[in-house]
């Protein structure tokens, strides 16, 4: 099996060897296949950010390994350096990290560090701007003249311009209004379709996760508490709640209907899906 990213027995420990020793993540086995879309959920402080900071070598494991395309990224300096371009990390509120004079230069920052030719850089910037929905006329503007949503897209384009094999998004839609949220989800979905790139999303939005992820890892207390498909994970509502999470409102509605003896499926995560099922059921009742 070819994994883009694989964590093997990964642990990260703060204040190791002292009496304050604490594991931020412990014994994590985690893998992402080529082109897969993986969701990571878990309450604040469950270790999600610590985990993803290992994927491109921002943190060094206390024990265990991180493999990118089968190679341990801590093997030597060059491998570590290259992992930064293979694995793109898009932090929460990435718009706060814009700094260049123009949007173009900001998006070009990553490719420039990859020592690509001027032409290649330009091509990549334009391609990434297109993927991220950054308008052409904005490229020559200062990033600080853009609206919040436009800034976020510019920041995302900066990661996409490195054309990494996997992009990690940490809470990509935090702070966005409902339309902005939907647009961003669509952007990620389109990007994946067009590039075949693997994607990891960290989010608190159980709704967004249900509509996007192929597989989900649930973190709790620094460990992987659950993993599986959306169906496998979301069918355990009680367990999720005990870990400070929940299921989408629509899923809860269907659970209540089932509890009242109505014959509907449990694995309903979107309003569209729910409407269809209930309409059929009502049609059957009236005929």
């Amino acid at each position: 099996m070819s994994y883009v990213i694989e964590a093997k027995g990964l642990s990260h420990c703060y204040s190791k060897g002292t009496n304050q020793q604490v594991y931020a993540v412990k014994d994590i086995d985690f893998s992402v296949e080529k082109g897969e879309l993986i969701g990571i959920i878990g309450h604040t402080g469950s270790g999600k950010s610590t985990l993803i900071s290992h994927f491109n070598g921002l943190l060094k494991p206390s024990s265990g390994q991180i493999l990118v395309n089968g190679t341990d990224i801590w093997k030597d300096k060059e491998t570590l350096h290259n992992s930064r371009f293979q694995v793109g990390l898009c932090f929460q509120y990435p718009e706060y990290q814009l700094f260049e004079e123009t949007v173009f230069r900001d998006i070009a920052f990553g490719p420039k560090n990859m020592k690509l030719s001027e032409n290649e850089i330009k091509e990549r910037v334009l391609r990434a701007a297109d993927y991220a929905g950054v308008k052409k006329e904005h490229l020559d503007k200062s990033p600080f003249d853009l609206s919040g949503g436009e800034k976020r897209r510019a920041a995302i384009a900066g990661v996409m311009a490195m054309e990494p094999e996997v992009i990690i998004f940490d809470e990509p839609a935090a702070g966005l209004d409902p339309k902005g949220r939907k647009d961003l989800i669509k952007l990620i979905r389109d990007y994946r379709e067009r590039t075949g790139s693997a994607i990891i999303i960290v989010s608190h939005s159980m709704e967004d996760m249900a509509s996007l992820a192929d597989r989900i890892y649930v973190m709790n207390g620094g460990e992987i508490a659950m993993q599986g498909t959306v169906d496998e994970v979301y069918s355990q509502g009680e367990k999720l709640r005990s870990m400070g999470l929940n299921v989408p409102e629509i899923t809860e509605i269907f659970a209540s209907l089932r509890a009242k003896g109505i014959d509907v499926p449990a694995n309903v995560y979107t309003v569209e899906q729910g409407t269809e099922i209930l309409k059929k059921l009502m049609g059957r009742c009236s005929s």
Partner: protein
């Protein structure tokens, strides 16, 4: 007759760049009239850049209107003294819990506000304890804030405002960065403060399921208030909400799509409607 606490009269606001007003800034307010009543729970909705945060910051004199007046209990904060007075009536809680905690121990952080008001130590002690109890953080009063969860930090920030004994708390997207449990904790706290202590709540949010918990909802678009009413009145108008870049709570939307005429606001109402619609046939 309901008593007005905060009154926006024909308020416009424009941000300045290089000392000059920027006429077309998105966050600007244009001719806003809004009354916020004592003891109510008002939710303010609107897309990013619609002017919600500007509105919030006008409530306790962080900003001054470019035109019109904002008065709090009849006070127009046109001098520093009056602005201070207004800030003793209206407190603010912001989005990022990490940006508003100043002390290294939870109870010291809560005491920061009352200390600045020059209140005597004995009274501060009493207020801090009461405030922490009211947000369910009393047990954790000796903890270090940076070791708390996001929801706990936000509740500490809320306690800090309560300890100043403000009549009103304005919360600007307080749950945007929280996990589901943290969101629940903060929403339950807000409800309790409103219902049990009678504190006026103004909640700015992007979450529709939070807005349905309010007494009244105001919707902003392009710097204006375009809708106002009870959650049931506002969420009945899905097309208008869509135009404003907003959507419906999932329960409301499901029932609408099923052709159920009444506007439902939560999962249990929704389940009830569906069951009665399926009737005895199941």
């Amino acid at each position: 007759m309901k008593e007005k606490l905060i009154e926006f009269k024909n308020v416009s606001f424009a941000y300045e760049a290089d000392g000059e007003a920027v006429p077309e800034t998105k966050d600007a307010l244009k001719g806003v009239n809004l009354d916020i009543y004592k003891g109510e729970f008002l939710a303010v909705l609107g897309h990013n850049g619609s002017g919600k945060s500007t509105l919030a910051k006008l409530c306790n004199a962080i900003y001054e209107p470019t035109e019109g007046t904002v008065s709090v209990k009849g006070i127009i904060p046109d001098t520093e003294e009056k602005a201070d007075e207004v800030r003793r009536i209206v407190g603010m809680v912001f989005q990022n819990p990490d940006n508003q905690i100043v002390a290294t121990i939870v109870e010291d952080d809560v005491a920061f506000g009352p200390e600045n008001l020059g209140i005597e130590p004995k009274e501060i002690r009493k207020r801090v304890d009461e405030a922490l109890k009211s947000v369910n953080m009393y047990e954790l009063r000796h903890r270090e804030p940076h070791k708390l969860s996001g929801g706990q930090k936000q509740r500490v920030a809320i306690a800090g405002v309560i300890a100043m004994q403000t009549d009103c708390i304005v919360l600007d997207e307080p749950t945007a960065m929280l996990d589901p449990k943290g969101r629940d904790e903060v929403m339950q706290t807000i409800q309790r403060l409103n219902k049990e202590l009678g504190i006026t709540i103004v909640l700015i949010t992007h979450f529709m399921d939070e807005a349905v918990q309010a007494d009244r909802v105001a919707v902003m678009n392009s710097g204006r208030i375009v809708m106002q009413g009870s959650p049931r009145e506002v969420f009945a108008q899905n097309e208008k909400l869509n135009e404003c870049g907003l959507d419906l709570p999932q329960s409301t939307e499901l029932c609408k799509r099923l052709g159920i005429k009444d506007t439902v606001l939560n999962a249990s109402e929704c389940v009830e409607k569906i069951i009665s619609m399926l009737g005895g046939a199941v």
